[in-house]
Symmetry: C2
Subunit: 352 residues, 2 copies
DNA sequence: GTGAAAGCGCTAACAT
DNA sequence: ATGTTAGCGCTTTCAC
């Protein structure tokens, strides 16, 4: 623990060359003879030398580090994005460092300064709010945001098609024959939440399904929020036969609530979520959901960042990934006494 | 994005002082008149200046950054430890940066070099295997490990009392009157898993409960592993009336399996987990578990690291936190036809 | 191919 | 109370 880490100078000394030669050899740059280069590499390995990337950055070079800020890195969406980003970054020879904001702990005035000093580029997985946007736009290194919702802003960002995803979810339920479809909202301050709600409402009116505001319950993208909202919906005198939750965490809360209230899923209640988080596939019944390719989105963020670092601005600031409905055990045609099935249930069968 | 970040020199220039004076003012060091100090602070704020902590570190000072390496930062144990660590670090004026290893992606030869170059100390949340231990022991900055299992090694580490925790879990089931208690193991390469198993076996023999190897199923601390193991246990001709899973993820897998096989919990099957992960409280029924204070453990790691950075070695290398049984809905006395209740169920009542 | 000089942003140590 | 010098580990630029 008191050991100093080996430096370039030490490697150079042992090899009997200048630091520049050692630097070139270790960075795969031309201008070093084969023999000398190999000798240097051997010595570096023996000494356990690793370049100090912050010194590299300080001296005007690249650190080959990508920074990532996230607000709650354990939430499934963020975690998956990070995993995808780490994978792609490492493959490209970059390391990745995460700066995690924790609720209730005041961060730096600028959430990116720390990473800007260290990294060559920054990925922000943050709710796309004005609070953070300013510091992102003024950054000294390329920044790209990954969000499950994208405002049409002039800022490089990656997201998914929330509106169509939500439509697919509700259409699936309608196709199955459901007519009373509840909705649990996300954080309405997020555009993803507003888009998903819009998708829900549009399908309702297109299919001429009754729009009943009591079927819309406030959620906040958390499991607990989904649980509470579902309790409300399930205690209505005419309760919904299906619930579309704005994300998988909330959908899992719905499932818990149903189990607690002894409402059988999917027989008495169908549930659809959004995200395709790993957890959603693990519960029983597994949750039908709208998949967004979170790992790919993280990987794509890295690739775009790499391009931006090379001076290539993205063709379009906003990159939208398509979503895909994943049908699992939590959805089925309605079957309780209140449901009247007719041609709608036949439609379901043809579609699937 | 092309903006350079303001530097100390700029602040000093605007204030018309030397860089040293600016540095002293910004770091709350003595030797600056009140008036000058306030002026410098004002200017720094206006310019949006933030100190470059890597330059601070490079120049021989402290970066006031704590690094944390973790192997899968989204697993509940790690995530909770990180949250606790971030909270404590920020409170102490430190920033925290996470280096996340991802399965299937080869990391640097030394997993800590990168962080050692940046941080003043490193917290490792890694399986305590020889693979990583070497680089930790040889680090250039203080390192402490947080693990759900601790080998008795001469290395600063924080863990919990897995053996007693496991005992409490199994005793709880025995007290309730269960006699056929299954166990789903963790990764047997981890000492936490071996300790929990030992606790299980010891209680079995102390209580003179039948030891039946078919009641022990291999798990790996994952939900999927718990699911598969539970399927095996639940398809035995004489299946257990209770299952103790080596952690909460596995316990949630057991719950899924039970629900899939229409085995009612807790009426026909009691389930106990380990960790008290947030998720375990959110499912239905909520899972009885052995709580280990993960956030506190993370915070404690930061505090000990801070002390070590100040030259104070921990009194004992190993810090063990106590565990606590948290009884929730997933456990109840056995009641199915196979169970014969007698004095054991009475014992349960007296104890609880 | 190889090396010397200068400097990135900052702070100890030593001035004044 | 304030400034100067030197140097952290590295890379750029410009020699040879």
């Amino acid at each position: 623990m008191k050991n100093r880490l080996p430096t370039l100078a030490e490697v150079a000394d042992v090899a009997g060359v200048s630091r520049m030669t050692a630097s070139r050899a270790l960075n795969n740059q031309p201008g070093v003879s084969r023999a000398v280069r190999e000798e240097i590499l051997r010595i570096a390995a023996k000494l356990g030398y690793t370049v100090n990337r912050t010194a590299q950055k300080l001296s005007g070079g690249k650190s080959r580090i990508i920074g990532l800020v996230a607000i709650r890195m354990q939430n499934p969406f963020t975690a998956e994005v990070i995993t995808g980003a780490v994978r792609t970054a490492r493959t490209a020879g970059y390391e990745m460092l995460v700066y995690s904001l924790v609720e209730g702990v005041e961060p730096q005035p600028s959430v990116t300064h720390l990473l800007e000093h260290i990294a060559d580029g920054v990925i922000a997985v943050l709710p796309y709010s004005g609070r953070y946007l300013k510091s992102l736009a003024a950054a000294s290194v390329p920044v790209i945001t990954v969000e499950d919702g994208i405002e049409p802003l002039d800022f490089p960002s990656i997201g998914c098609d929330n509106y169509r995803g939500a439509r697919a979810a509700v259409e699936h339920l309608a196709d199955l024959g459901h007519r009373r479809i509840g909705f649990i909202t996300g954080h309405e301050s997020l555009s993803s939440a507003r888009e998903r709600r819009r998708g829900y409402l549009d399908v309702l009116s297109e299919r001429r399904l009754p729009r009943d505001d009591s079927l819309i319950a406030e959620g906040d993208y958390t499991q607990r929020g989904g649980f509470d909202a579902a309790r409300k919906l399930l205690s209505l005198s005419r309760r919904p036969t299906a619930i579309f939750a704005a994300n998988d965490d909330a959908a899992m809360g719905v499932l818990s609530a149903a189990q607690k209230l002894q409402v059988r899923v999917p027989e008495e209640l169908s549930i659809v979520g959004f995200d395709d988080s790993p957890q959603a596939a693990q519960v029983h019944p597994a949750i039908t959901t709208v998949r967004q390719p979170m790992q790919e989105m993280g990987g794509s963020a890295v690739n775009m960042l790499l391009a931006m670092m090379a001076g290539i601005e993205p063709a379009s600031p906003v990159t939208t990934f398509p979503t895909e409905l994943v049908v699992r055990g939590s959805t089925a045609p309605p079957s309780g006494p209140p449901a009247k099935r007719s041609k709608s249930s036949r439609a379901a069968r043809t579609e699937r």
